[in-house]
């Protein structure tokens, strides 16, 4: 069964450093998302991406964040200058979107620890 994959599973970085989180969405899906979950809190929407551009972003997704689909399979989230409060689990999700409205499938997540 196709699934969303994410790398790395755990990333440790120093405050102020840049990180890139990588995702491979399900191959025939058209909509891609990033969410984050701070420990003990709810899953929060960051950004959605469709047709090679950002469709919607939350207030959390400020100028320090960017997303890219560099090729036909990868979808990346870049944080330019990490802060302590960026420590969280980051989940990538994808949705088929070809007929009607359908569910999002999530990857296993990347745990980001900013020291």
């Amino acid at each position: 069964e196709p699934e969303v994959t994410q790398t790395p599973s755990h990333q440790v970085t120093q405050m102020g450093q840049e990180v890139i989180l990588r995702c491979v969405p399900i191959s025939n899906h058209l909509y891609f998302y990033w969410y984050r979950q701070i420990l003990g809190q709810k899953v929060e929407f960051l950004v959605s991406f469709y047709n090679n551009e950002i469709s919607e972003k939350s207030e959390i997704f400020d100028d320090q964040f960017s997303v890219e689909r560099p090729d036909g399979s990868n979808f990346t989230l870049k944080i330019r200058s990490t802060k302590l409060e960026d420590s969280a689990m980051y989940f990538c999700a994808s949705r088929k979107g070809t007929s009607g409205f359908n569910e999002q499938f999530f990857g296993p997540g990347t745990r980001l620890t900013v020291l």
Binding site: V4, Q6, Y31, Y33, Y35, Q41, K42, V43, E44, F45, S48, Y50, S55, E56, S58, M89, F91, R95, F101, N102, E103, Q104, F105, F106, G107, P108, G109, R111
Partner: protein, 112 residues
Amino acid sequence: EDQVTQSPEALRLQEGESSSLNCSYTVSGLRGLFWYRQDPGKGPEFLFTLYSAGEEKEKERLKATLTKKESFLHITAPKPEDSATYLCAVAYYGGATNKLIFGTGTLLAVQP
């Protein structure tokens, strides 16, 4: 403000003891309500989608129902392997790309 509230926050059941989890929502124009299961340190695993009031979906020991204001996840004769956090999320008309708004989840522990 659009909100999703889940109750209880935590639930402990004995194996075989059936119960229900609640998800109440206040969004304008519900487009879909989703139930996910999340194991510790893992990503949400899709369970069900409900689109309109009166709809029901079943999968093994789980059954999800939807009204105009809330959804229930019924767990019949649970087993220890059903222990997880159950997340409710909604998408609404008016959002550009059907982002999900999540509740805080119900942590279910099933004891043998």
